[in-house]
Amino acid sequence: MSNNGHLAPRPGFVLDVDRSSPPIVFHHGEGFRLEKLPADRTRVIYPAEPLEGLADPDGAIRHALLNPLGDSEPLPALLHPDMKLTIAFDDISLPLPPMRRPDIRQRVIEAVLDLAAEAGVDDVHLIAALAIHRRMTEDELRHAVGDRVYDAFAPSGRLYNHDAEDPDGMVVLGQTPHGEDVQFSKRAAESDLVVYVNINLVAMDGGHKSTATGLSGYTSLRHHHNVHTMLNSRSFMDQENSALHASNWRMGKVLRDADVKIFQIETTVNNNTFGREGPMSMLQKREWEWSPKDRVGFLAMQQGLKLMPAKARRKAFSSWLAPYELTSVQAGEVEAVHEVTTANVYKQQLVPVEGQTDVLTMGLPYICPYNVNSIMNPILVMCLGLGYFFNLYRGKPLVREGGVLIMGHPTPWEFHPVHHPSYIDFFEQVLTDTTDPAEIEKKWEKQFAEDEWYIHLYRTSYAYHGAHPFYMWYWGAHALQHLGRVIVVGGDVAAVRRMGFQPASTLQDALEMATDVVGPQPTITHVKNPPIFMADVS
């Protein structure tokens, strides 16, 4: 028995709100809001319940390595004593929240290293494929790869963070037919084999993006992390209609043509974000199914959070480790692997939804890919809402063109000075000039990307690259173009206005304000996310 007493996990569900529907829990940063949604014109989309995890993850991993997909030999056949082997793995941005130990990367890397040891491979490097994200700390690396791997490789300099600004460590391998430069880690390019270890949390992840993005730098990224790509993806989460995906696939072909041999290992997890039991478990249950214990637990959590100072609240949330379980692992040739991976992601995440809505509401949680152990600053709030959540659709956006997006988050005017120095300047200097992504890209991106201090902090401290806040803003470009208005509930008023959005104190106020754009009695759709799901909108 696994899911609230049900024998099998139930699929995603669309609730039509009526007068008897209970208030709905909205994530609200490091807190929650209970919101009563208007009856008879509101629907709430719930994710599917967590799929069953694999009973023997280590066995499944070994099986995948020995039984590759596509045009690939089993991993042992690719390993030989004098070879140069590079194992690259996803960075701190995956999964969200970070998962309980052992992290899937640890399991996979240990399995790969066992095979490498059996084959007598000595020259092994492990690289956190972070592209222009911040470097991972020792603790974070230990969490991802495990202490045994860390202690065996890090002290001798064979486990490290990718450095996309190392002039001696990067190489341009060619151009795509579209004129896109393919810049790549020199160590990976010179290796006889690159093994990539992925955790696929959303449909955008994985495939050629793992290496073509994760082991590249600004020279490559600028070709697909841009406004044009975002405006030409419907959505960037849907591989069939994503210009971002297409660009990465073109770059993948250049890598292949440059004789970069990649053995791709992709994994999927279920959406057991908050646990089937425990203090947060009610967050992945449907409100009308809450037990008295869930209700009391939620109220106690709410009260406790209210009494906590902001820093303690942030620490409490940051310490949450998701009990994700491995639902699939596949290895071999990149594209063959990714096709299966995507199907497995969809199996957990796709929820069929009929038609669009006038107003889309969402409660944004405390975490996004770029604030793990950090602060969710206003730019990241924008990116999470208008970038990630808005784009978690296949077919059509959940909200109609010209509709309104209402998102709830405290949106504090606060930045992590070590992790996000360029974000501070972006917020203070760029957004005071314009909020138009295309204008921002044209006028400001290059100077931030080439700023020596940001590069210095990216390489030597724990800072996101100078170009990164731009990409966060571009991530929302499709939504900004599509929507008639964006309203932020419960956010810092000045921060919300700085981004060109409208602040509202309550959801009721926001819904009232939305009628100026979409007319009276609009239809409303609420996405109950996380746990993450993807709407399949017909």
Partner: protein, 408 residues
């Protein structure tokens, strides 16, 4: 005649200091400034003429005096009681409309030979402001004998007067004197072609300095600080490339100059000071905080120009020493040497700039003399209230007409 007169009165001075610290401009209500009836001014010398002000501006230095914030440095350089007001457009008795160049140098003091600075045309540097036929006073507006612009009449030496073209509005004309200060500051800064210049403060002087830099120098980038939205808009309109709030200046200059930041905690992302920095800072605030900012953002061997009157400040001067930064003052005007080597009177340059940049629009509000408390409070809160220059409007004062009739 009607005049606002500033008397020596220590208890009232202390009260003004207290009131001014609570509410900027609050010193007007309790301090030594009084609206009073005075005898019309008598000419201090044979050549002197009477000026009947039309508009008379309120300057930051006036506000410092009213609120008891002026440095004791000035005590021997003024003569009590005096009538403030040195930004003046007014009428002579023959109907000529003039702008006042208020500095009281050797010529107006009937001193011959003149001191070296006056001989060189640098009136603001006159060495004899406490000597000669006049009581002490560095300018009209601080000298008992001359009177000042916050009255229906005062006395002026012909060398102080500049006739105003008919095409000039009174609002434009009253901006000539502060613009001359800004032109002087921009030229003292010695901005080389392609330099990055930072202007701290976007009050009247800051805004005018930006305009002057755009006209009389050729900087690559002007970065400016502005606390209020209207100041931000005007700073950009007048030529600043990047306008930020004061708290953001270190980050903004770092980016504009491509410098790296130095954090007190190594590489923690804070911008405590810069590795390089701006070539020139023109500080139009003059506070401990602004000069500290200036020292943090000026490149080695760069220059800081103090235009805002600093009074007493507390500073860490190690960066000045270590980075060999020049700290220079810019006070008033006189004769300027332009980048092409030619020379010109600052007032002439300022007059041209006022016209070219339509600086009369910076006069945001005018008040009759009897509403002086409101006027001074408005001027002291100009930025917050969306204003730039606040001035007294004496054009409709009855006493002004009476003086005219007496003279005819």
């Amino acid at each position: 005649m009607k005049a606002l007169q500033f008397r020596r009165n220590v208890p009232r001075f202390a009260a003004a200091r207290l009131a001014g610290s609570l509410t900027p401009g609050g010193g007007a209500a309790v301090g030594p400034l009084r609206l009073t009836d005075l005898e019309p001014p008598t000419a201090p010398g044979p050549d002197w003429v009477r000026v009947r002000p039309r508009l008379s501006g309120i300057c930051g230095s006036d506000l410092a005096t009213i609120d008891g914030r002026s440095a004791r440095y000035f005590e021997p350089l003024v003569s009590f009681p005096f009538v403030p007001g040195h930004e003046v457009v007014g009428d002579l008795d023959d109907g000529t409309r003039v702008v006042l160049e208020p500095v009281l140098g050797c010529v107006s003091r009937n001193l011959a030979p003149t001191c070296d600075p006056c001989a060189a045309g640098h009136l603001g540097n006159c060495e004899h402001t406490t000597f000669g036929d006049l009581e002490p006073g560095i300018q009209t507006g601080s000298c008992h004998d001359t009177g000042g612009g916050w009255a229906t009449a005062f006395s002026a030496h012909p060398s102080q007067l500049h006739p105003v073209d008919d095409t000039f509005s009174d609002e434009s004309a009253v901006m000539v004197e502060p613009t001359a200060c800004a032109v002087h500051a921009a030229l003292v800064a010695g901005v080389t072609d392609g330099a990055v210049v930072t202007v701290l403060g976007a009050g009247t002087l800051g805004l005018l300095t930006i305009a002057a830099l755009r006209t009389f120098a050729n900087p690559r980038t002007i970065v400016a600080t502005a606390r209020y939205p209207s100041q931000r808009r005007l700073a950009a309109e007048l030529g600043a490339d990047l306008v930020v709030e004061p708290d953001g200046i270190r980050r903004a200059v770092r980016r504009a100059t491509g410098s790296r930041a130095i954090s007190l905690d190594r590489d923690n992302g804070a911008v405590d000071r810069l590795s390089g920095g701006t070539d020139v800072v023109i500080d139009c605030v003059g506070s401990s905080a602004s000069i500290t900012d200036a020292l943090a953002i000026t490149r080695p061997r760069g220059r800081i120009v103090l235009v805002g009157m600093p009074a007493s400040v507390t500073l860490e001067l190690t960066p000045l020493w270590h980075r060999e930064i020049e700290l220079v003052g810019a006070y008033t005007y006189g004769t300027e040497t332009l980048p092409d080597g030619s020379t010109a009177r600052t007032f002439d340059l300022a007059t041209g700039l006022v016209q070219a940049a339509d600086l009369g629009r910076l006069v945001s509000a005018t008040y009759p003399l009897h509403r002086y408390r409101e006027a001074l409070e408005h001027a002291a809160a100009a930025g917050r209230r969306g204003a730039v220059k606040v001035a007294f409007d004496l054009r409709d004062e009855k006493e002004r007409e009476a003086l005219m009739e007496m003279s005819t």
